[in-house]
């Protein structure tokens, strides 16, 4: 699904912040991406989300060589990847419904299907009564759930989440993690960047830890976590 092979990355002419990252994220897997603040978690997620390209090495997403990927091919590939941003990135001038409908509208789906899917996904995240609400009127946890609904409404093959519990309390954080677990059970590959150790301990999936730009695998991984052999070693 996503394969890093000796990938390095630097911003402009600055120092390299990711070194020789080699890992494979397989379909249906669940990974926590951990590391101290500034370790490069968001950068790694952005590369998985095609917002950044490797400065060296080989990165393949859904079988496409990202280094050689033409810009016009990126939108279709991005629609197969769901992304939950740390700061939610909801559009305040649009309703909750319209925020969640965005990926489907960009995909050109019919309004009837959009209404059905968006209503259904918002009910799934527990916001079925907030369809026409403004995101500004919601709490942080509710906004995070809207962001998750938007990320998964298009049924992506992989869901990336950047500190999804970073701005919510422990209870809401656990509820959000359970949503991710449900998605995982439905077959969606999940990668969650987080530094919330208590949550990681409650949901013991495979961990990829970034230390000074080097990616290492740490023990964890119960039954549903399937880390490929290539991800076991990095550096």
């Amino acid at each position: 699904m996503i394969s890093f092979d000796n990938v390095g990355f630097r911003y402009g002419v600055g120092p390299e912040i990711l070194h020789d990252v080699s890992v494979s994220i397989e379909a249906g897997s669940f990974h926590f991406l951990t590391g101290a603040s500034g370790a490069g978690k968001t950068t790694l997620l952005n590369m998985m989300h095609l917002s950044l390209r490797p400065t060296r090495g080989f990165l393949s997403i859904f079988g496409q060589d990202v280094g050689a990927l033409k810009r016009r091919r990126m939108p279709a590939l991005r629609r197969q990847i769901g992304m939950v941003f740390q700061d939610f990135r909801l559009l305040d001038h649009m309703s909750v419904f319209d925020n969640v409908a965005l990926p489907l509208r960009l995909d050109g789906q019919k309004e009837r299907e959009i209404r059905r899917d968006v209503t259904s996904i918002l009910e799934w995240v527990g916001l079925g009564d907030a369809l026409q609400a403004s995101p500004r009127a919601l709490s942080g946890g509710e906004q995070q759930r809207v962001a998750i609904a938007r990320a998964v409404v298009g049924r992506p093959g992989i869901l990336l989440a950047d500190e999804p519990t970073g701005s919510v309390d422990e209870a809401i954080g656990q509820r959000i993690l359970r949503l991710f677990e449900e998605l995982h059970r439905l077959g969606t590959a999940i990668v969650i960047a987080t530094h919330n150790r208590s949550l990681i301990e409650r949901f013991p999936h495979a961990r990829l830890e970034l230390n000074d730009g080097n990616l290492v695998r740490l023990p964890g991984g119960p039954a549903r976590s399937e880390v490929s052999p290539r991800s076991e070693v990095s550096q």
């Binding site: 917002s51 629609r79 990135r89």
Partner: protein, 282 residues
């Protein structure tokens, strides 16, 4: 694909777009109408003066001068201008009927020239002075050339100003599109991350600009049309030197193309600018 409203499609931004577009279109139409009018004035003067020369003489010599002119080749008609008609012509310039009536006037003879076979003014002057040595032939060449040059320059300046307005409009539209993209930068990055193409984002900006552009263009065109009709109707007393200000049907057709062109130009520039900037965003 359904429309996705951006933040900048708010009242202030839209009002500014309507105002700027309206002003540009009104100015463009007025300048183009002015250039067309000058072209008609130029043509009218050429026609009026190219086949009509004037001889100045005394009342005593007038009949001899007429006789000499009638026998000259290329002359189709000769007529002594009545004194009343001359005073009538002078009236708008002097604004004083009593003064005009007392003014000593020379005798003027209108000489109509065959436009297809005009005589040489030098040869005709020689033939005339052979009969009436004191008579003076004026083919209006000296001052006509200056007037026509002024009219031509005015027309050229009008077209240049129109081009400058069009260029300013392009730059303004591009700047407005850039401002809207800058305001909505985060939304564009988000839309990209959700799988939006650069063309889709450019299309959204184009659609957002369309309504404001059409409203501005309609208001500008109506204001310009009202101004043109007002000037044409009020022209004779306002500009006594020009007998008639008018626009031909073809001129109105060209002026009608300005609003259509303005809408197309605004849409193209907005799309082109938005597409170029969207491509630079992640």
């Amino acid at each position: 694909m359904s429309g996705i409203p951006f933040k900048s499609e708010q009242r202030t931004m839209r009002a500014l777009s309507v105002l700027v577009t309206g002003l540009m279109v009104a100015l463009g139409i007025l300048v183009l109408a002015g250039a067309a009018t000058l072209r008609h004035v130029d043509t009218a003067w050429r026609h009026a003066l190219s086949d009509r020369w004037t001889v100045e003489t005394t009342a005593a010599d007038a009949n001899r001068a007429v006789a000499a002119l009638k026998t000259a080749p290329g002359v189709t008609e000769v007529r002594i201008v009545p004194a009343d008609e001359m005073r009538h012509l002078l009236q708008p310039w002097l604004h004083d009927a009593a003064l005009t009536a007392q003014l000593p006037l020379p005798t003027l003879i209108d000489v109509m020239i065959d436009r297809d076979r005009p005589p040489s003014s030098t040869a005709l002057a020689q033939q005339l002075t052979a009969a009436v040595p004191e008579a003076k032939l004026d083919d209006h060449g000296a001052w006509t050339r200056d007037l026509l040059r002024i009219a031509e320059a005015g027309e050229a300046i009008g077209l240049a100003v129109f081009a400058a307005i069009a260029l300013t409009a392009i730059l303004t539209i591009a700047a407005t599109a850039r401002a809207r993209l800058a305001i909505n930068r985060d939304e564009i990055v988000l839309l990209h991350s959700l799988g939006a193409t650069d063309g889709f984002i450019a299309g959204q900006f184009q659609a957002g600009a369309f309504r404001a552009t059409v409203i501005g263009v309609v208001i500008g065109a109506m204001l310009a049309a009202a101004a043109i009709v007002g000037v044409i109707k009020g022209a004779p007393p306002v500009i006594p030197f020009v007998a008639e200000l008018r626009l031909e049907p073809i001129d109105w057709a060209v002026l009608a193309l300005v609003p259509v062109g303005a809408i197309l130009l605004a849409m193209l520039v907005t799309r082109w600018t938005a597409y170029g900037l969207a491509r630079r965003l992640p």
